[in-house]
Amino acid sequence: MSGPSYDELMEGASPDEEARLRRVHELLVAAGPPPELPPSLEEAPVIRRERERVRRPALTTLPRRRLGAVLVAAAGIAAAAFFVGYLAGNVGSSGAPPVTNIAMRPTAAAPQTAAAIIALEKTGGETNVPMTLTVSGLKKLPKGGYYELWLTREGTSGGKTTQKLIVSCGTFLQSSDRVEVKMNAPYTLDSQPGWVITRHVRGVTSQPIVLTT
């Protein structure tokens, strides 16, 4: 990958600054992106031997963010409207409503009008739980990008409450404003898990959570 046009970036820069930044530009181009980690390396080796069921490392924790009251209210209204609309459009029409509907709300990393519903088709300690994920309002991603639904569990790390990614339930694209995708949780739902959706963009190392329960 060659990176952006260097000359365009440097318009108006002094010769010294231009030379300094050119070197950084060349280093970035030469280094290329770090590789994606294969699943076998997603957890530190020593820790993995001690935890049998956790297949993903803990999400790091941040201090609680003070979200603006307006944003919270807007997100709540959007989620509620989506949920009501979803039920109106689905329950009854099939004759067999899903056993459990779980609403997801947007994080600060997503448009505040985004929302999702997970319709679990089985509950009560069963494995391979099929589900229908209905999502609206997420951004359409550049080529190669995708969203991923994860089952999570609450835990602690360093005295802080964390959400651990347990297992992926599948990926999807926000190809239109509202998408409906069949997914599967390959896991025994023996208690109340959490759910998150992460965003993946090619070349970008962070995979922010965009929707959460």
Binding site: P34, P35, L37, S40, L41, V46, T61, L62, V196, R202
Partner: protein
């Protein structure tokens, strides 16, 4: 769930109170598993990248990463902050583990042809590996907004216009912020690679 961060596996958190690499190695040497996990999140990808470049084989590179961090866990107590930065120490541990893995490779039975090679020599490979290691680590130290912008601009294959469209900001702002991010990255790399 409001307290969770928006970062997942193998990635670096850019919180202001972030521990230095050296701090984490020292704490790992004291048996602190949380510190070890943080260290792993920061360095697993750079180590994997280093191993891939040197070994050219994903499976052997995965083994080398496991061996690197097993060595880190065992030998972190030998790290002395006054002798150098934590990242440099970890790079040396990784390089040794990868070299061990490379030596373990079965050599071909036939003599290789005595022809000049177009590939970089060992010293050039070492230099290239170090540069990539430092650049990846330096990018991960940038504030989130600048880091994502540089990753999109340089490593996603998107044009500047596409980056602007994806981020929902004007093209001129993308250019201004990219330049500012380059300047900050230059500050981080000053004295090492500049």
């Amino acid at each position: 769930m409001a307290a969770i961060a928006y970062e997942v596996s193998g990635l670096v958190m850019n919180a202001p109170e972030q521990d230095t690499d050296g701090d984490l190695i020292v704490r790992t040497g004291e048996g602190d598993r949380d510190a070890f996990e943080q260290l792993y999140k920061r360095f697993a990808r750079p180590v994997f990248g280093l191993a891939l470049r040197r070994l050219g084989d994903r499976f052997r590179a995965e083994d080398a990463v496991q061996e690197t961090f097993t060595s880190v866990w065992r030998s972190a107590r030998t790290y002395r902050p006054e002798r150098g930065a934590g990242g440099t120490w970890l790079y040396a541990v990784a390089r040794n583990a990868i070299a061990d893995r490379a030596r373990a490779r079965q050599e071909p039975a036939a003599e290789p042809p005595d022809l000049p090679s177009a590939e970089a020599g060992p010293s050039e490979q070492t230099e290239d590996s170090w540069v990539s290691w430092r650049v990846h680590r330096a990018v991960s130290e940038l504030p989130e907004q600048e880091r994502v912008l540089l990753e999109l601009a340089y490593w996603s294959g998107l044009s500047q216009s596409e980056v602007a469209e994806y981020l929902g900001i004007p093209l001129g702002t993308v250019k201004t912020r990219t330049r500012a991010a380059l300047a900050r990255l230059a500050d981080v790399l000053e004295g090492e690679l500049l």
